[in-house]
Every structure is written in structure tokens, then in C-alpha cells.
Symmetry: C3
Subunit: 206 residues, 3 copies
């Protein structure tokens, strides 16, 4: 698999996972058909559009490439059609969100490097790619943004983006580097949800 094909797949899988998480959240809030498609699209493409604007990849891929909108419509249709199946999952929004998080952190870091920017920008823009769509989803639905909730979230994306950007700069093999970074991110996020792990807090110390 060529490098280009590999990263295209990482991007599309992440897009679909976030699109599902946005559609489920919109469905739970009883939005109408258009609202579900809109939330699905904003969640899936919001972070990538922020990234593309910041690296100067204009117009952003989420706007110019029909596959992103297409995936959002398919995700919305899937959630509406297979709702009983989706409901059986414990926390479908968090689950699909955790999958998208790793794929987008890795792809965002890679695309920033590919546009000739430095490793620092690659790490931060990997995190923004990964958390931007979910933050927009929560702002539009008037929920507390997931990025500010108590569980470890953006830090999982940060580790994946740093691992990918660092490894790619050091020339590590792309055969296993992105998958390891994605697995690392998912594992951290899953364990923090499963065992309610949190960052240290300080407000009560004083």
C-alpha cells in the first residue's frame, strides 16, 4: 500500500467514525433529518477544516472533496436505519469518538508535515484535527465540550500526534508507525473511560 493510499484510508476511516458519533448525538437530541446530516458533517469535517485553514491547504478537503459529505450522509442514514443496533452499544458517541480521535491525530500530524511545516505545528494541528469536530458538535448541541470534561481526552490525541510526528521525522517505517499511534490513543482513551482515570485536579487543595 503506497503512502498516499494509506493516509487517505486513515482520513476516511476517521471521518466515518466521527460522522457516526455526530449523527448519534444529533439523533439522541431528536434533531430532524437535516440536523442529523449537519451534525454528522460538522463533527466529521470540522477539525480537518480548521487544520487545512491553518496549513494553507485551501479550499479545505472537507469542502472540496465530495467523499466527506458523502460519508456524512451515509453515516446519518446508517444511524437512522440501524438505530436499534446502535442503541445496544453502551456509549456509541464516546466509542466512535475514541476511534476517530486516533485516526485524525495521526492523519493531521502527517498532513501538516507533508505541507512542509515543523514538528511543533504538526503535533498541535494533529490535536486540533482530532478534537475540533467533537468540540463543534458539543458547542452546537449546547453540551459541555468533551475536551473540557474530566476524562483524559485531548492528551490521548496529543500522545498519538507526537508519536506520529516524531516517528515520521526520525524516518520510522510507516508500515507500523501510524497503527501503533492509533492503537496507543484508543487504548489510553478507552482505559480512562473504563476506569474513570482523570488528570490531577487542584481546586480543592487550596
Amino acid at each position: 500500500m503506497s503512502e498516499h493510499v494509506l493516509f487517505t484510508w486513515l482520513d476516511l476511516i476517521g471521518t466515518f467514525a466521527f460522522a457516526i458519533s455526530g449523527a448519534v448525538a444529533a439523533h439522541q437530541k431528536k434533531l430532524d433529518l437535516f440536523g442529523i446530516i449537519t451534525l454528522s458533517y460538522v463533527t466529521a469535517c470540522g477539525g480537518g477544516i480548521m487544520r487545512d485553514i491553518c496549513i494553507g491547504a485551501l479550499p479545505p478537503a472537507g469542502l472540496s472533496d465530495w467523499r466527506y459529505l458523502g460519508l456524512s450522509v451515509v453515516a446519518a442514514g446508517t444511524v437512522i436505519g440501524a438505530n436499534q443496533l446502535v442503541q445496544k452499544l453502551a456509549h456509541p458517541v464516546l466509542l466512535f469518538d475514541a476511534v476517530g480521535l486516533g485516526f485524525f491525530a495521526v492523519f493531521g500530524a502527517h498532513k501538516t508535515l507533508a505541507y512542509g511545516h515543523g514538528i511543533g505545528a504538526a503535533i498541535i494541528l494533529g490535536v486540533i484535527s482530532a478534537v475540533g469536530g467533537g468540540a463543534l458538535r458539543d458547542l452546537l448541541l449546547n453540551r459541555t465540550p468533551v475536551i473540557l470534561q474530566k476524562e483524559i481526552y485531548a492528551s490521548a490525541a496529543l500522545i498519538a500526534a507526537a508519536f506520529q510526528a516524531g516517528g515520521e521525522t526520525l524516518g520510522w517505517s510507516l508500515r507500523w508507525l501510524p497503527w501503533t499511534a492509533i492503537a496507543l490513543c484508543f487504548a489510553i482513551r478507552y482505559l480512562s473511560l473504563r476506569f474513570h482515570l482523570n488528570h490531577p485536579r487542584f481546586a480543592d487543595d487550596d
Copy 2:
């Protein structure tokens, strides 16, 4: 009327309509003078600034061309001065918003094509031009964004943007194309408000 003059007018009329809708919303929330001007400007220029950033038209026209800020100040003054007149309209925010929606969907699609981008980007950026300012207005005022409300809204902009982008690509005459698209958008939006038409919903089916 040359093409350039035509589209400049579409942009300025849309700007003024959105500026009025933002000023009325701010006035209803009892904001002060500066708050009314700010809301007027953000509603009028927010969507266009998002569009210009995405197509690489920097700095965005809403920031570099004084006419946009000027129109926002005039709209704020009009709403403050002629408040009793404006109050007599049934739903002034929704009414002026519906006018701006069509003008911006058409102008946004046209400007995206004029910057050399494809028809897909033109349609999506037409919608973003049209709905972006109103979404910012509602986020700042802590209201449910109009784009997620039950009535048909962004889909009216989508039809106008697709009609304009498609027609322009096919070389249809600009003498009637933009006006037809704008009338179509306003008619769809007006009828959906008048008869409480909504998109299908699914949450109760399951």
C-alpha cells in the same frame, strides 16, 4: 448592469439584511450600543469571512472593505431609531434573516466559482456564507442555532446555492439566474415558516 456590479449589489443587500437581523436580535436581548453594532457586524460578515478564509481571499472582504462595517453601523442605527416601526413586523429577525439567506447563498456560490474552485466547494461554501453569520449570532446570544431549529433553513440555502452554482457552470444567463435562485430560497424559507413545514424526524419511530 455588468456582472461585477450585479454581484456587488447581491452581497451588499444580503449584508444589510443580515445586519438588521443581528441588530434586532441584540436589541431584543437589551444589549448596549456597542453590543448591537457587534452583533450586527458579526451576523452580517461572519459567514462571508468563513467563506473568504476557505477560498483564500485574504484578508476577508468583511475585514478589509469599510462598507461592511459601515452597513452594520447603519443597520444598528436604523434598528435603534426606527424601533417602533421594526416592532410592528411579526418576526423581524426571521424575516430579514430569510432575505439575507438567499442573497448570501447565491453570492457565496458565485464568489467560490470566481476564485477557481469546483462546483462542490461552491455549493457548500454558498451554504456556509448563508448560515455562518446567523449561527454565530445565535451562539453569542446563547440561543439554539437557527441551523438546528426545526424549520427548513440550511436546506433552502443549499437549493439556492446548488441552483446558482449549477446554472453558472452551465452558462445560464445571469440576467435571471441569481434572482430566480434568491426567490426560490426565500419562498421555501417563507413557506416553511408560514406552514410550519419540517424535515422528517426519526426519534419517535424506534
Copy 3:
């Protein structure tokens, strides 16, 4: 002190002041370590990133230059470590916010001119640099954005940005121009807070 060094210092001082204000606000809301760093960074860099995107300075300095993230981490650590000291200040969020406001209005206007844009864009982007980060901070914390609160706020930034952009265009000496603009902004903001000065309101007149 060369012009470049002068404006770098204005930018870094403004960044640190906003980072402190964001960290204090996050600490008051009892966010965890990562939430405090995130809020600190978003408040400090949000406005500058909006400005850089609009003037085409890509990738935005807040993303590509590690000093900004570093200052945010230091500010978060300071707020956590010296919390009892910070608590003794009457309104630390408003105080540090008022300091950052003037520095960013002046630096934002200067950077826009330095990128070859006009005086109109320089004034508006000075204001956006100054108020953007605080608006994001308040949106994420679900507070009423400071820009829409009753006291004179964005207008203080507007005066500083207009003073700097106008003076720089007229060739006034940089030895005293930026400091005067910053002092003007801080004085206006401080007096409006101290004496509860507000813009005129209209809602009750009708």
C-alpha cells in the same frame, strides 16, 4: 530596542497576561490540569490565530512557535502553584484580561500593517486579536462572552488599535506610540470597571 524586538515583547507580554486570565478562569471552574492548560492556551492564542488566518500568516504563530504553548504551560503552573497569591487580587481574570487587551490590540494592528494590508483591516484585526481569545474562553466555559457584557470592552481595544494603526501610518515614533496606545486602552477599561461605565442602552426608551 529594534522594532522587531519591541513588537515581539508586546506579543509575548500580551500572551502571558491572557494565559493567566484563562488559567484563573479554568481554575475557578475546577477544571483538571489539562483543562487549565487548554483554557490558558486557547485564551492566549485564540485571537492571534484568528488574526494570522485572516492576514494569511500561515501556519499561525500560535501553532508554529513553541514559545506560545510554553507560556501557556508556565501560566497554568503559576496559577496552580501561586493560587493563594492570585486569589488575593480582586478580579484576577478581568485584571489580566485588561492588560492583554491593550497589548494584543496594538500588536494585532501592527502585524496586519506589516503584512501589507490597509489601515481598516489593521484596526478590525487589532480588535479581533484582542477580543478573540477571551470570547473563546467564555464560550468554552459557557459564560456570557465578555465582549457582550455591559462594560466598555471591545471599544477600548478599538481605540488602541485605531491609535496604533493611525499613528504608524502617519510615521509617529515607535518609542512612545505603542505604550501610549496600551496605556489608553488599560485606562479606559480600568475606569469603566471601576466606575461601572457603560455604553448607552436603548431597550427601555421605547
